[in-house]
Structures are given as C-alpha cells and as structure tokens.
C-alpha cells in the first residue's frame, strides 16, 4: 500500500464540505468573482477525490515533495499573531496578559476568519473565531462587523448619546474598538459605509430602548448583537444596493454562512457567545500542575441531542425525519446555528424574488438557485447564540477559541495539555524526581532526552497557537509531532488539502494570574 494512506488520517467524506450544496462563489472577496473549485455537484465529491488521489500517487513529482523544517515553519508561521497587553512599570493590571492567534488554510482561499479587539469606551476585550461555509463572504463580514455590534450593545445610554451627537454634528468619533489585526486580516473598504449606516440605525434603536444610568447586561448585549447583525445581513440583501458590486457583495454575504464563537473578557468576568460548532475551552491548572479542559460552549450540531430536539420542536411533526437527516440540517448543513445562510431562513418566494432582481452574476450561480429539499416551514436556522458566563478563578490559565478544524483533529484535553505545557514550559511544571524509585542512569537519560526534544519543539514556536497547529496537523499516533507527516500535510496541493484537513483558526488568550486571583 502506498505510504500516503498510512501517513494521512483522511478526514471522513462526511467531514469535507460543511454544506452539501454548491458554494456560491469563493474568491478573495473584494476582488473580481471567480468560480470556486468546489462549485460542483455534491454527489460528485467522492468520485473526484478518488480520481485525484490516484492521480497524485502516480505522479513521481509529488513523492519528492518534502518540505525542510524552515519551510514548514514559514508556512505555519505565515499567519501567526501575538499581542501582549502593555505593562506599566512592570505591572499589568489587566486580567489578560495577551493572546496568540494563528490560522492554517485548507480551503483556497481560507473560509475561517478571526478577530480580536479591545473595547475602548467600555472595559473588556473581545475575541472571535468565525468559520465560514459556502464561501468566505459571511465570515469576512462577521469579522469586521460583529464586534462593533457587541461594543455598541455594551455602551451605556450616555455614551450612545455622545456617539449619536458626534455623528449628527459631524464631529470626529471617539474610537470604539482597538483592533489587534494580523496584516493578512483585511477589512473591505467598499462596504464600510453600508456597514456604518446599519450600525448607526442599530445604536439609534438602542438609544431609544436604553434607560439612562443603567449598565447593559453583557449576556443580553451579546445575544442582541448577534441577532441584530444577522438580521441586518438579511435585510441588506433584500434591499440591495444601487452599486452593482456592493449589491452582489451583500447577496454573497447573505447566501454564504458562518458560525461564530466570541469571548468577552472584562476583569474576572468571562462571557462566551457561541453560534455553531466553534468551541471555547478553558485551560485549568490543577494543584498538581497538570492541565484539565473546561468547555464553555455547546456545539450546535447533530451530535448535540438537545440541539436536535430544539430544531425538531420548531417544526411540524411531519418534518421530524427530514429536518435533521444524515446528521445535517435538512440533510445539507452541519452547524445547526449560523449567520447568513438565507437559503435556510427565507421563504422560497423571497429567495426567488431577491435572486431575480439581483445582478447578473447571480444567475449563473448554482448555489443560489438551489432550494433545499423538504423546505416547508422556514426559518430552519438562527444566529441566536448560546451565552455562557464564567467567573475566572486563579487556576484558570488560558482560553482556547478554535474553529472545528482544530477540535476534530485534537481532543480538547490534549489541546489544553499542549497549550498549558507550552505556556508554562514543560520542565518548570513537572520536575523530574527520583523519589524512592529505582532508576538507572540509562533510564533517566532516556527520559530527559525525550523531555528535551519536547522542549525544543516548544521553543521553535514562540506562538502557542502555532504550536497547537503543529500538533493538530503533524502529530502521529504517539501524540508527538512527526516532521514527515507535517511536511506532507502542508505540501498537499491546494485542491487536495481540504480532503485531509479543515481550515484551522485558533486564538489562545492567556490570563494574568496576579489579577484574576484578586478581589
């Protein structure tokens, strides 16, 4: 047998493509539209894959395609980003020390997005991981817009008033967010005015609803911001825009979809709002120094029974069999909650009307025209998040936000162990001690050299997220990073990569034990 099948853990057919419908478009969103390689009939996936696998096995060129360790590193580190909360006089009074983030594409282009920002007019920091499907448009829009919606929802009445007055009178605005962006994380310029006017409408409504002197509740604010943004995405697509490009863009945002997993940290208060199958896991250090995982989110997919129950309960009994089929919503969509995806939200009439009035490009698009089977009682999908509140304890060391590309390759317990050991340094946290045991010098040497090898791979990565990706992609059956495997996984041709792995996006937030231990 070819060595490749041993080396690769092929992600099951079930896994590739979280939506079994042709993707709408897939392009580097603000550039000229280009049909994506995935834009084929759903049923041909398997065939195509097998064909291509056979194709590359016989290609001798591929066999010699090994990456050197520096090449591997440059691929892994291309998107890494790190932010340290600035210190004053050697002290950091923030509950967050900083964060590491990174992403590794499998789709071309990547459909995952990430965001991190500090709220400037309220306290707290925001982190979000967005996993797009059927294109990256929706995830891209979320990465630009969602934090503004959250930040605005968190503003007290007085600040909202100042904001509105400033806009009204053409005065400069105090910035609301300070973004922590990697150079590859871009914002679209064309849509910003449209986004801003929607946002302004939102805060004007908030201004009407809020009571002076009252502090918004974080959990409510998160829910409200999520729902409002999804609503705005939907509305903008229905209304359209005189500018043909923008019109097409808002439709792409609405017809593609994305999950969102967002954390808000203010002092000891941690809130996680989750829509879809992204996950937030807390790394807790036990008294013995080891790390255990505390999951703060529930996956919204077929594996979550209560979620299946919820979806079924929202539709007539006659649809019980069709609404969740083959572990997918309507037999098509893996996440049971998502932004965008108006195909699962709008009535058939609305979808037809919008498509007919839309720009010409849309008519050639298979995905847009496709109506899900057994589509009787929309909406089938919601963007409403599940919010978890957690009061940080001194033993809570870090928070890992990841797209499902991470969680399906590594168990959360393993994730927390790898990150924990990376952040604390292996040797510090578990010193070797002979105690009363019989240990020979040879045994001790073997143990120490193994530990050293582990540390050296730790030192290779300054960034904990990069370190985690290295394990997620390259670990062998013993849980150690295998360079050969890593090299093969990373040198997969663009069109094959998605068969073996998903986009991976990770944000690791490190807490400041000196602050969260306090009152």
């Amino acid at each position: 047998m070819a060595a490749t099948s041993q080396v690769f853990m092929v992600i099951h057919g079930r896994r590739f493509g979280r939506i079994l419908v042709p993707a709408m478009t897939c392009q580097n969103c603000s550039q000229s539209p280009r049909p994506c390689i995935n834009a084929t009939q759903p049923h041909s996936f398997k065939q195509r894959w097998q064909h291509q696998v056979r194709g590359y096995r016989t290609s001798p060129a591929w066999h010699s395609y090994y990456l050197t360790p520096p090449q591997v590193n440059s691929i892994l580190k291309a998107n890494e980003y790190n932010f340290k909360v600035p210190e004053f006089d050697g002290k950091n009074l923030c509950s967050v020390m900083g964060f590491d983030s990174n992403q590794l594409p499998a789709n071309a282009p990547i459909e995952d997005r990430r965001s991190a920002a500090t709220c400037l007019q309220t306290r707290g920091m925001l982190y979000g991981v967005f996993d797009g499907h059927a294109g990256c448009a929706c995830a891209q829009a979320l990465s630009e817009r969602l934090f503004y919606y959250i930040a605005v929802s968190l503003l007290p009445h007085e600040t909202l008033m100042d904001l509105e007055n400033a806009v009204e009178n053409g005065r400069p605005l105090h910035p609301i967010l300070q973004w922590h962006k990697h150079p590859n994380d871009y914002f679209s310029k064309e849509a910003s005015r449209l986004y801003f006017s929607s946002l302004r409408t939102y805060w004007q409504e908030l201004l009407d609803l809020s009571v002076p002197g009252e502090q918004p509740d974080v959990a409510e604010a998160l829910v409200s911001a999520f729902k409002r943004l999804d609503n705005d995405v939907s509305l903008e697509a229905q209304v359209g825009d005189p500018n043909a490009f923008l019109h097409y863009w808002v439709l792409r945002v609405a017809f593609s979809g994305a999950t969102a997993c967002v954390a808000h940290i203010d002092g000891n208060e941690l809130h996680v709002a989750n829509t879809g199958d992204g996950r937030a896991v807390l790394g807790v250090q036990e008294p013995d120094g080891s790390f255990s995982a505390l999951t703060l989110t529930n996956d919204h997919n077929a594996q979550n029974e209560s979620e299946v129950k919820r979806v079924r309960s929202e539709h007539p009994l006659s649809e019980a069999k069709t609404v969740v089929k083959q572990d997918r919503l309507l037999g098509l969509l893996m996440p049971f909650r998502a932004f965008g995806d108006v195909k699962f939200k709008w009535s058939i009439e609305l979808q037809r009307r919008v498509l007919e009035s839309g720009p010409d490009q849309l008519h050639e698009n298979e995905h847009a025209k496709f109506i899900p089977p057994n589509y009787h009682t929309p909406p089938y999908l919601t963007a409403e998040p599940e919010v978890t509140r957690h009061r940080l304890r001194p033993q809570d060391r870090f928070l890992v936000l990841g797209s499902d590309g991470l969680w399906e390759t590594l168990h959360r317990q393993e994730v927390v162990r790898i990150v924990g050991e990376h952040l604390t340094g292996v040797h510090q946290q578990q010193p070797v001690s002979v105690g009363g045991y019989k240990v020979t010098l040879g045994q001790m040497q073997g143990l120490l050299q193994e530990r050293k090898a582990r540390i050296s791979s730790t030192f290779e990565d300054q960034n904990a997220a990069t370190h985690l990706i290295r394990y997620a992609v390259g670990s062998n059956e013993f849980g150690m990073v295998d360079h050969e495997r890593l090299s093969k996984m990373l040198s997969l041709p663009e069109e094959l990569a998605r068969m073996y792995r998903d986009d991976i996006t990770i944000i690791i937030v490190q807490f400041n034990p000196h602050v969260i231990g306090g009152p």
């Binding site: 010193p431 001690s433 002979v434 019989k438 240990v439 010098l441 001790m444 050299q449």
Partner: protein, 770 residues
C-alpha cells in the same frame, strides 16, 4: 596556591593519589601546554596513551581519546573529614569554635576592625576573616562600613549513584573530561559525578537566608547534558542506579580567581572567599598565605592575581556579578585562549570618546571595568568574527596591529589611555614631597614640571606599584598608575599617609581623558594646535606643561608615551576631550594620523623592554632584578621604603633577573605563538618563565620578557650576573616545542644613552624653569 594544598592535606590522612584528565583530538596539545605548566610548578605529571587510561580506569570509553594527562600525585579528600580534622587540631591549640551563631555585622572603628557582633553577643578582635562563602557578599555589605566582596552563587549539581554490581574501587582515579564538562570519582562503591555546564543557573542574586541552602531543588533536565556526557565517557554506568542528584551552590568571582587578602580601607578585615568551586584544592595554600598575611603583613609569595584589591566597589553590582558569573562558570572547563575578553558586564566605564572610536572600528577589551580599544578595524574590511580570535597561533588582528605600529614608528597615532589610574597629592607645606620621597624609590625632589618614573616599593624592595609622578607645583603631584592599581595604590598610599589635614590625596581618574600621541610627527601636530614649538630642544623628554590645544586651555601635555617612542601624553579635562580629539585628528590628517589600540602599544613597549606592573613586575620583584637601578635614589641620603633591602641586594647580588628573549627560528605563520608563562631553558635546564610577550614588528621576531632564576646544585638560589646571562644558550618552550632565543639585558637602543640624554635634559630644563 594549589601546590601547597596536597602537602598540607596529606597530613590529614588523605587517601587518593591519581587524577586523570581527558581530552579528545582537538584539544590534545592543550594537554601538552598544561603539562609544561605543571613541570614549571614542580608537579609530577605525564601524558599517557588511551590504552593506559583503560588500564587505570576500566570503566572509561577510550574510543574517542587521543591521550590523557596523568597526575599521579593528586589526591582526593572528603570535605567534612578535613573540616573535622582541622577543627580538632585547632581546638587543641586553643581555638574556640562557636556553632549555630550568626554574625550580625563587623564593628569598625577608625578604619580598624575592633569586634564582631553576633546574635549571641559581641567578640572583640583585632583581625576578622570573612570566609562566609556564598554569603561573603552579604556579610561584607552588612556593616556600617561596607566591604565589597564581588562574588555570586551559581547552582552546582552532582550525581551520587548506588554501588555498582562490581563496586568502584576507592583508589580508582578522579576523571576530568573537559569536553564533556564533567568530573567523576569513586563514592562508596558507586560514582560521584558533577560538572560545569554551559548554561549555569545563578542564584541568590537578591540575597537569601542561609537556611535555604538546605533544601535546594534538584533539576534533572538541567543535568541532562552532563549525564549524557558521563554515560558517553563511561557507558557501563547505564545500568547503575541513581542515589541522588545534589544541588550544592558554589560561589564564583568576576575573573575565575578567588578573593583573598586585606580589604582596602579597613585594617584587619581579611577576606577569603569566591573559590570558584575549587575551595578544597586551594584551601591549604590559601590558608597558609592568608595566615602569613595576617602575621607578617604580607604573604610569602606574590598573590596579586588573587588579591581582593584587584576589585573595587565598581564590581559589586549584583546585576554585573550575576551576568559575569554566568560567563565565568562554563569557562572552568573550557580552553582558555590568550587575550580572551569577557563579554558580559561590559561598557561600564568608558571614555567620552567611546562612541567616536567605536564608529571608527574600535574593538574593545576591558580592564577594571574600563573599555579600552585593542585595535581599529580599517573601514571597508569585514568585521572579524569573535571566534576567529580564539587561537594560540597567529591571530587575525596581526596585520591590523602591524599597520598601527608602523604608523606609530613613522607618522603619528593617537591612543585613548583614559583608563589609567590618576591621583593628585597636594599639601600646604612639603608634606606631599615628604610622603612621596618615602614611598617612591626614585627622587621626587625635582624641578616643577618634571616627570619621574618610579616604583613604590615595600620593605622587601618589591614593587607595590610602578608609576609616573609629575611635579605639578612645589607641593602638588600628579600620580599616574596602571588601571588596575586604582584600589591597591590608593590603599597603599593611604596606609602610609600621616593623618594630616593639610595633606590631601584625590582620585582624579574620572576627571581626565588621556590621549597618547605616539610617533615622530606628534610634535608637529601639537605645535600646530598650540603655536608652541614642541621640538626636543623646547620640550625635552619627561617634561610636563599646561598649555592650550585648539580652543581648550589647561591641557597637561607630557613628553612621554609609555612606549619609549617619541610623542606626548595629553591629560585633558573630560569636557574638552571631544574637542581636543577632533582637533588632533583633523590637524593630524596631513601627518597621516590614525587611531591605534592597546595591542600596538603593547608591541612597542615589549620590544623596548618596558616591564609592566601586574604582568612582569610584582611585589616580589625589586628594581635591581629588572635593571632599573637607575631609577633608585641610592645616591641620595633620603630614606625610602625598601632602601635597606635594595642596599643589601646590591651587595649580595640578585638571584633572579628580568631578561628579554628574542625568538629565533620561530615561524610566525605556522608555529604556536608565545603568550606568557612559557618555560625558559638555559643550556637545556629549566631556569625561568616568561611573563609577557609580543611580536615586534620592527625586529620581525617574537620578543618574550621573563625572569631567570637559576639555582645552585643544592637547589638554593644562585646569583645572576650579566656574564652568566650572556654565556648561556637559551630556549623557550612553546607548547612542547623548544625555540632557540637570544637573551638580552638591555633594549636595542641602549638605556645608558637614554639616561645620559635625560641628564642633559634636566640641566637644560633647570635652566629654563627658573
């Protein structure tokens, strides 16, 4: 120091007698160098083959060995047993030992130790020895008068194993594998093995309670390289069981040498600490010298390299010590290359011209915390890699220094010599002159403006300091001493200074930037800048004038260069330093001026047979032994320190003599260079050791300076005469290879001629100054 220890410890019933050091291929000839060193000291040693190693110590893997150094006379002792033996022996002589008693501080009154305050009361004393090891620094800082004991602790690990199935014999040799950075010896049928790692862990930087040393943590991950080295050297130990990994901090000093002697400024306060992990092997010798020091006022051999006065307060920063010991500790098991500069704790004291010189390619060395330029890398040349300078052969700076020397000889060079120690001694009456006449061997009662080279001698006639003294005015003197004399010379003068409020000594080292203009065109540069003729007729040698240079007035210009070459030293108040330097460089351009460094100076000095205090001269060398009789005021009736000893020596003759050896048949390109410490053979017999050496670009030969100390057939010192020296055939042993050499007592331009010229100058200047 090391020599005495085995002898003393022998009496304490010690057991072992073998020590073997291992070296793999690259370092083999280093063994030879060491071996030669031992022979000079009189320690029995020999280089043995790997086969013999296996015979002496069957556990050793000899496959990668080329040879080993075997010291049959070495020994091993157990520290607790030695301590116990010493305690019992001294108690028998009336010594009282207080255990579980902590010293709070040492009481000092009027600069003398008077008592020690402990938690159980006070103990009156005349002498106090701070040998508190790790805590010597803190103890030094605890008193009202602070004593600087520059040392810092590092964690040190050693492994104890359980007995082997075939127990290791107690008499099996101690192994030192420098490449593996480990040492090993037998321990209760098993092995004791430790090492000096590349990445030491400094500890107690903030100062700690003494009790914490009891529960230091083992760190196996840190010990891994040493464990691997041990198993590589002794693979048979793999199945041996671990007993314990011991973490036992050791203290280290900024230069890898221990600290001993009386502290500057406090009489009766002695220190013996910072043993750099070789406390036990040095204990016997160090104890002997310290005891002599306390009893007679000085030890019976020169211990300047260990004298605590080589350091001052400036080496007492905890950050400095922490960083420096991290560099020092790994060096213990590394090849020590000549002219190696420490890389940590640098750029502490710098001249105001530092940046300017650095931009022009200066490469720096450090002395007493002061940065000095070694040489200047010409523009356009690639920077030299640090590692390339690590050689015993011809170094990469050879041509660069050659060009600088050539410029000194033919045009003019400027060397920043600000690091030199500078004192000013002034008095209302003639107290300053009186003091200097007593301290200095040479006559200081010279006309104002004269410079006198003189030694400051001790009672035995040995050099405590070698300096240049300028008579600035009738009652004020400017004393220029070597850089590392800052603490020692200060305390020497203070010790002999009467407490007279009208006599004032000031350290002005920091106030002046010193520029040395060397070369035949120096006078042209200076006269252009001052509109004063600087020719020897108008500005004779060894003369000092305050004059203007450029816009700056009040610059002390001295006609000496510390090299025997023509030129001037400029002592410039620091605020004028940049101005004067800029002026000198721009005016000097047409005379071909360039920067030069200390290596050029050194080459010039050594080829002129100039001895340097601290390298060639020490407190056991007299002016008669180094041909400096002409710098002693024998013809005057003035009494001075060391006069009696010198008069006696003049009658009896000297038993050692400083000579200059010019190497022949030495290939500069291919042969190992002499650096210092090479044995000198006369007619095939060991007769002395070199103290410094340099390549003379003028002679195109290597010049070594060193002492010859012949012995009679019965082993007693023999008298050296000029005839004895001239009649011998000499060889210098460089790394096992002997090179023929010509011995000379005087430099090529005769000293007598110089003396004569100086006499003439003096008469001339007498005429001028009044």
């Amino acid at each position: 120091v090391y020599l005495y220890s085995p002898a003393i410890l022998w009496q304490k019933e010690t057991e072992h007698n073998l020590k073997t050091a291992f070296k793999t291929a690259v370092c083999l000839w280093m063994i030879l160098l060491k071996c030669k060193f031992c022979r000079v000291l009189g320690v029995s040693c020999n280089v043995i083959k790997p086969k013999d190693v296996a015979r002496l110590h069957p556990l050793v893997n000899i496959h990668d060995l080329v040879g080993a150094l075997h010291l049959p006379g070495d020994s091993v002792v157990s520290p607790p047993d030695v301590n116990h033996a010493l305690a019992v022996a001294s108690a028998a002589h009336g010594v009282q030992i207080y255990e579980h008693t902590s010293v709070n501080h040492v009481v000092v009154k009027k600069g003398h130790v008077t008592a020690v305050e402990t938690d159980r009361g006070s103990i009156e004393c005349e002498y106090f020895v701070n040998c508190a090891g790790q805590w010597a620094y803190e103890l030094g800082q605890s008193g009202e008068v602070k004593v600087s004991v520059p040392l810092h602790g590092c964690e040190h690990f050693y492994l104890l194993t359980k007995p082997l199935s075939e127990p290791v014999q107690n008499d099996s040799p101690v192994l030192i594998d420098m490449d593996g950075r480990i040492y090993t010896r037998a321990w209760h049928g098993g092995i004791l093995s430790g090492g000096f790692e590349k990445n030491p862990k400094p500890i107690f930087t903030e100062g700690r309670n003494q009790l914490e040393i009891q529960n230091m943590q083992e760190d196996w991950d840190h010990f891994e390289p040493m464990l691997s080295a041990l198993l590589r050297r002794m693979p048979g130990l793999e199945s041996c069981e671990i007993q314990q990994l011991v973490n036992c901090p050791e203290s280290f000093t900024p230069d890898m040498r221990c600290l001993m002697g009386e502290t500057p400024g406090i009489y009766g306060y002695f220190v013996l600490a910072g043993m750099n992990s070789s406390g036990l092997s040095f204990a016997g010798g160090a104890g002997k010298y310290l005891a002599e020091w306390i009893t007679y006022g000085y030890p019976s051999a020169s211990v300047w390299p260990l004298d605590i006065k080589r350091f001052g307060n400036l080496q007492s920063s905890r950050t400095f010590l922490r960083h420096r010991v991290m560099e020092v500790m790994p060096l213990l098991y590394e090849l020590k290359v000549p002219r190696w500069d420490f890389q940590t704790g640098r750029q502490l004291r710098t001249s105001p011209l530092y940046d300017r010189l650095d931009m022009q390619g200066a490469r720096w060395m450090e002395k007493h915390g002061f940065e000095r330029a070694k040489y200047f890398i010409p523009a356009g040349k690639d920077l030299l890699a640090l590692d390339q300078s690590k050689t015993f052969y011809k170094p990469d700076w050879f041509d660069i220094v050659g060009a600088e020397v050539k410029c000194c000889k033919e045009a003019v060079c400027v060397i920043d010599m600000s690091s030199f120690t500078k004192f000013e001694l002034t008095s209302a009456g003639d107290q300053a002159l009186q003091l200097l006449q007593r301290l200095c061997a040479n006559d200081l009662d010279v006309p104002v403006g004269h410079i006198v080279h003189t030694g400051m001698l001790n009672q035995r006639g040995g050099y405590e300091n070698d300096c240049s003294v300028v008579r600035l005015s009738k009652n004020s003197f400017f004393i220029i001493s070597p850089t590392d004399q800052q603490v020692h010379c200060w305390s020497w003068i203070k010790k002999h200074m009467p407490s007279d409020p009208q006599l004032h000594l000031e350290d002005v080292s920091w106030k002046y930037t010193a520029l040395n203009l060397i070369g035949p065109r120096a006078m042209d540069v200076l006269s252009e800048l001052s509109y004063v003729s600087m020719t020897p007729e108008h500005f004779p040698s060894l003369f000092c004038k305050e004059m203007s240079v450029g816009y700056a007035n009040g610059i002390r210009v001295m006609s000496m260069t510390h090299t025997g070459e023509p030129g001037f030293m400029l002592y410039i108040p620091i605020e004028y330093a940049l101005h004067v330097y800029n002026e000198v460089m721009s005016v000097g351009q047409k005379y071909g001026i360039r920067n030069a460094g200390y290596y050029a100076l050194r080459s010039l000095r050594i080829e002129k047979f100039f001895a340097f205090w601290g390298q060639d001269l020490d407190s056991f060398t007299t002016p008669l032994e180094c041909g400096r009789e002409f710098r002693v005021k024998f013809d005057k009736d003035t009494d001075f320190l060391g006069r009696d000893a010198l008069l006696r020596q003049r009658v009896e003759g000297v038993s050692r003599r400083f000579v200059m050896l010019v190497l022949e048949d030495h290939d500069t390109e291919l042969d190992v260079w002499p650096w210092w410490g090479e044995p000198i053979y006369r007619n095939g017999e060991l007769i002395g050791v070199t103290t410094s050496s340099a390549y003379s670009y003028t002679l195109q030969r290597h010049v070594c300076l060193g002492f010859l100390s012949p012995t009679n057939t019965d082993g007693s010192p023999a008298t050296v005469t000029a005839d004895f020296i001239n009649r011998g055939d000499y060889e210098v042993d460089i790394a096992g290879q002997r090179f023929p050499a010509k011995a000379k007592l005087y430099p090529f331009s005769s000293l007598f001629a110089q003396q004569k010229r100086r006499k003439d100058d003096m008469e001339l200047s007498n005429f001028q100054s009044k």
